[in-house]
């Protein structure tokens, strides 16, 4: 398997960094080589930010940021007009967006004609499961649907291990529920 490179677009405070790390940690747990790192700028809640995950069967030596992601994940739909989210996304690229719109609508909006576009209303799922608008974990679920490098069970294990102490059982379960729902509800077009 070649290296998979994922670019997460979010706004400060939406958990893009956490999601990028959980994906990496789940992959590390099954013996893959990983990197997960945010793009550090002026750190402000609400400001556009990026985080990256690299996963590979071979050791990863590259230490620059990701220029040509295989998958781009938009945690905040308001970034679509603000940031060039399809930059560097190749012909086989996958664009996953947290939105109530259809993949066809997103294709029109972004002018992205290649690869795949997936949409899921991750904010709604987060509100219904977690009761707060924190769409990062559902978007992680959306990724798992389009890339099988790690399984939903492996990610759930990491989420459990990470959240149980910090958030308690109920909220941990709600996070995993959010991942599973987005996995099931992702529309691809």
């Amino acid at each position: 398997m070649a290296m998979v490179e994922v670019c997460w677009h979010g706004r400060g405070g939406q958990g893009a960094k956490t999601a990028s790390q959980f994906l990496g940690e789940a992959a590390l747990d099954i013996g893959k080589y990983i990197q997960a790192f945010p793009e550090y700028g002026p750190e402000r809640a609400g400001a556009p930010m990026k985080a990256f995950t690299r996963i590979s069967d071979e050791p990863i030596y590259v230490h620059s940021s990701v220029k040509n992601p295989d998958v781009v994940i938009i945690i905040d739909p308001t970034l679509l007009g603000a940031v060039n989210v399809t930059e560097g996304l190749g012909d086989d690229g996958i664009l996953l967006v947290n939105t109530d719109k259809s993949p066809a609508d997103i294709r029109k909006e972004t002018d992205f004609k290649h690869g795949k576009v997936g949409t899921v209303d991750a904010t709604k799922i987060a509100l219904e499961t977690l009761k707060i608008p924190m769409p990062n974990m559902p978007m992680l679920g959306a990724f798992l649907k389009v890339n099988s490098i790690v399984s939903i069970d492996e990610v759930s294990d990491i989420v459990k291990a990470k959240f149980i102490k910090k958030l308690g059982e109920e909220k941990t379960k709600a996070n995993i529920e959010g991942i599973k729902r987005a996995y099931a509800e992702l529309k691809i077009g």
Binding site: G24, E25, G31, F37, Y40, Y61, V62, H63, E154, D157
Partner: protein, 397 residues
Amino acid sequence: MAQTKSKKIPLTGDQAVATAMKQIGPDVVAAYPITPQTEIVMYFSNYVANGQVSTEMIPVESEHSAMSACVGASAAGARTMTATSANGLALMWEIVYIAASLRLPIVMPVVNRALSGPINIHCDHSDTMGARDSGWIQIYCESGQEVYENTILAVRIAEHKDILLPVMICQDGFITSHAVEGVQLFEDKLVKEFVGEYKAAHPLLDVENPVTYGPLDLQDYYFEHKRQQSESMKGALKIMPELFKEFEKTFGTKYDFIDTYKLEDADIALIALSSTAGTARGVVDVLRKEGVKAGLLRPRVFRPFPREKILAALKNVKALAVFDRAESFSAEGGPLYTEIKAALYDSDIKPLVTNYIYGLGGRDIFPDDIKKVYSDLGAALKNKKVSNPINYLGSRE
């Protein structure tokens, strides 16, 4: 808990350092937080607060005080550590020199960050390159794994009775300090055994054998003391290989002063420190597939300067690019470049040599940038001369 099939655990470079410090369990840590070193101090303070280490943690009000407290503690006979970055290192400058001059084996992880101004929090090597003449041993690390291992190794280097010099363990700010990678940790017991118990040769607190640290030393003996420091740095070149071997025997990782990649038969080669060498490794693979004989050399140790090792590794190289993530404003190129050129002068090999200053203030360096340098070297080889001795890679013209 998740079933852990891999023994590696996800850590940032800063967490890796803090973990090594926890396992070493120094007697004293005096530190002041500064981005991007902050997490080291933060995690280590947690270990102290939770009783996981019995270290005396001295939270000071500045880096000048941090290094001053380290000097006091180390002279008293304590195994002493601190950590810093950029302006923090600059603020402790006066005492950095004193620590080395008093031959105090202080170990200091440094997370490389650009010096102000303009103010910038991202990676370059201007901070530690500025301190290259301070008398500290300097080790540069490519990854979180390496910074973890070198922090443990540094304790033995610093405290070796025939070295007794402080050591900086440098890693790239944010690039490795804040990136999560899988890090293979060693057992606490093995680390404890490897570093052993520290017994200072001449502690101030040994009242039976009183000693003086830092007295006035004028025309009469200052010169001889400087000479001893210099001889000790030269001697470190002979002693460190023993410690590399012992480290390999204990933990399995082979260390040397330099790390090379496909250099044996390379016509063109690049020299770079720390994480950039990792990025270059992938470029070498791509070029090798295209039939280009490209290679890579990464000095792990910059002080003392491993001249013989570097020259031996470069013996077949015809054109060479030296990467500097620091500008020394000499109008003669960056610090690594000038040292490499000086080393080549009285050697038998005379490759074409060129300098690329890059990545200042955290400007990202991509595989394509590095590929361009190898292509420049190819052209230099053809023309039998370099077009520009000093280049600024990735800077707007």
